[in-house]
């Protein structure tokens, strides 16, 4: 299956690529839940370094994996450090001053822990997205009797960006053909206002026609749907999923009872 433009999936045939999407989904959920089990910043860091990073290296997607984290995680972490570091409630231990602002150690520690939790969460799901074609994931969910409507919503959401982008391009071209000048930052900002109306209203207008087309193609039929895509799976993977789920339950238990606080 070739890569499609609107999917982050990186083509490959590694061990991780060949795993069932459900196994990778279960792994992403489990590792995220486990990250919260112990209130120590070294624990999520260990999970990331011992599990997620080697998995990304093994799947030969480490460059894109790190690039995605740099794009999405780094800004989130930076904001966390600023907000928690300077404005953490009831913090007293000042480690640095920037004019009227005081950086406090309790806030930095909290931000570090939260940022690493988010690192594990993003890492798990980015690994899933990078090594799984969205269609295979949707087929796997369909085979597990997940509601077709829910699968449709997720699939459509994954493609909404290219859809809206194409529509926006058409509208902009039509407006430029009628003399609108889109040049420079100010021009682009001015063009945004007349673009939004037709973009949103047009999308709503199309909904009716698309709904009719979907109905005539059996969407919402009462029969159990089948899937064109073959989803790889095995008894070993099913057992691994059960084991991972037990780990997740154990992690929740540890966290709730505060065993390792």
């Amino acid at each position: 299956m070739s890569t499609v433009q609107n999917s982050p999936h990186a083509t490959g045939n590694s061990f991780v690529h060949r795993l069932s999407p459900l196994t990778k989904l279960t792994f992403a959920v489990t590792v995220t839940v486990c990250a919260f089990a112990v209130v120590d910043y070294r624990w999520p860091l260990l999970l990331f370094c011992a599990l997620l990073l080697p998995a990304a290296i093994g799947a030969k997607v480490v460059r894109r994996f790190l690039l995605m984290l740099a794009t999405f995680w780094v800004p989130v972490a930076a904001i966390l450090f600023v907000i928690q570091g300077f404005f953490f409630p009831e913090a007293h231990d000042v480690i640095a001053r920037f004019g009227p602002l005081e950086l406090k150690s309790e806030g930095v520690a909290y931000a570090l822990l939260t940022a690493l939790h988010i690192l594990v969460l993003m890492g798990g799901f980015f690994l899933l997205l990078l090594t799984t074609h969205a269609a295979t994931l949707m087929s796997a969910l369909s085979e597990r009797n997940v509601s077709p409507s829910l699968i449709y919503i997720v699939s459509a959401a994954l493609q909404i960006v290219p859809t809206l982008s194409r529509r926006a391009t058409r509208i902009l071209h039509a407006q430029q053909a009628r003399g609108q000048v889109i040049h420079g930052l100010r021009g682009r900002a001015r063009a945004l206002v007349p673009l939004v109306g037709p973009l949103i209203l047009g999308a709503f207008t199309d909904v009716g026609e698309r709904a009719a087309a979907m109905e005539t193609r059996g969407f919402g039929a009462t029969r159990r749907p089948t899937s064109l895509i073959t989803v790889p799976d095995s008894a070993v993977q099913r057992s691994a999923r059960v084991a991972m789920m037990l780990c997740a339950v154990a992690a929740v238990t540890v966290n709730v009872w505060g065993v390792m606080r």
């Binding site: 269609a135 039929a221 064109l228």
Partner: protein, 289 residues
């Protein structure tokens, strides 16, 4: 088979009927073409025969619409899936938006119908081949050109093997080669016994492909009959339909006594060539005399 008797329909927001006292029949294996100007009610008629109107739109309907002997008023839209296929004017809106490749998009309807994977794969690959889409099978539907998207929309309906097909200007975004592929596919459908209602502007192809032609104007059928009768009617322009240029040329020639009396006005290029050829031969013989 399609039967429509005394059918009228008004949209919920409409002040006058979009269709008024419509009546016609299309038998098995037959292809009925519908022509008319903008706002004549063609797309509404397509919606009515495919069951989406008034099921999805609401509005008031009177009269009878039967498909394969079943009254559409008594059937839910889901009951027509696989029996009636609808290809819309805008292919962009016919794409589900939930499938990531052309191949998966074509399979969407079959998946909903619960068709087994092996059978589904075979049917999808046949349609891809028939419509010349095999090369783009793994591309995203959104990466296709307008023409390819139109072929994809047709393929996604063809794969469900309906017994009745309704096509609302399926070639509006296609080039000559793409249109030829569509009409070729329509020919194959007829051989398979599919009843077809086709709304189309390409008169030349329509004249050769259709068994019957209906002309809609202001929501009413103003003419119906064989392509030769209807498309040569001199009132065609009054009804908002552009006549074929060679039909107009033959009519003007006939007005000057330059078209063979016994020969009907042509609605295909071949008939026009034969008619004008006969006139030229006749004139040449007269000159020699």
């Amino acid at each position: 088979m399609i039967e429509v008797k005394g059918f009228s329909f008004t949209y919920p927001t409409g002040s006058r009927p979009a269709l008024h006292d419509i009546g016609f029949e299309v038998g098995p294996h037959e292809l009925c073409a519908v022509v008319g100007g903008s706002g004549a009610g063609k797309s509404t008629l397509a919606g009515v025969v495919s069951g989406t109107i008034p099921h999805l739109t609401g509005g008031s309907a009177e009269g009878l619409v039967r498909v394969n002997g079943r009254d559409l008023a008594d059937i839910a839209l889901s009951g027509l899936v696989g029996e009636v296929g609808l290809v819309m004017q805008n292919p962009f809106n016919q794409i589900s938006g939930a499938r990531f490749s052309v191949r998966e998009e074509i399979a969407f309807g079959l998946e909903n119908m619960g068709v087994p994977r092996d059978e589904m794969a075979a049917r999808v690959d046949t349609v891809l081949h028939d419509l010349g889409l095999t090369k783009v099978r793994d591309r995203s539907p959104y990466e296709l050109s307008g023409g390819q998207q139109q072929l994809l929309a047709i393929g996604s309906v063809l794969v469900m093997r309906p017994t009745v097909m309704v096509l609302d200007e399926p070639t509006s975004q296609l080039d000559a080669a793409g249109s030829a592929l569509v009409f070729e596919a329509l020919g194959t459908l007829r051989e398979q016994g599919v009843t077809t209602l086709l709304i189309e502007h390409r008169m030349e192809r329509l004249a050769r492909a259709a068994d019957h032609v209906l002309v809609l104007d202001g929501g009413m059928i103003v003419a119906q009959g064989s392509p030769g009768e209807v498309l040569a009617d001199e009132r065609l322009e009054e009804w908002g339909v552009a006549p074929l240029r060679y039909t107009v040329a033959a009519r003007r020639a006939a007005a000057r006594g330059l078209w063979p009396d016994a020969r009907p006005l042509p609605v295909t290029l071949d008939a026009a060539a034969e008619g004008f050829g006969a006139t030229v031969a006749h004139l040449a013989r007269g000159d020699r005399r």
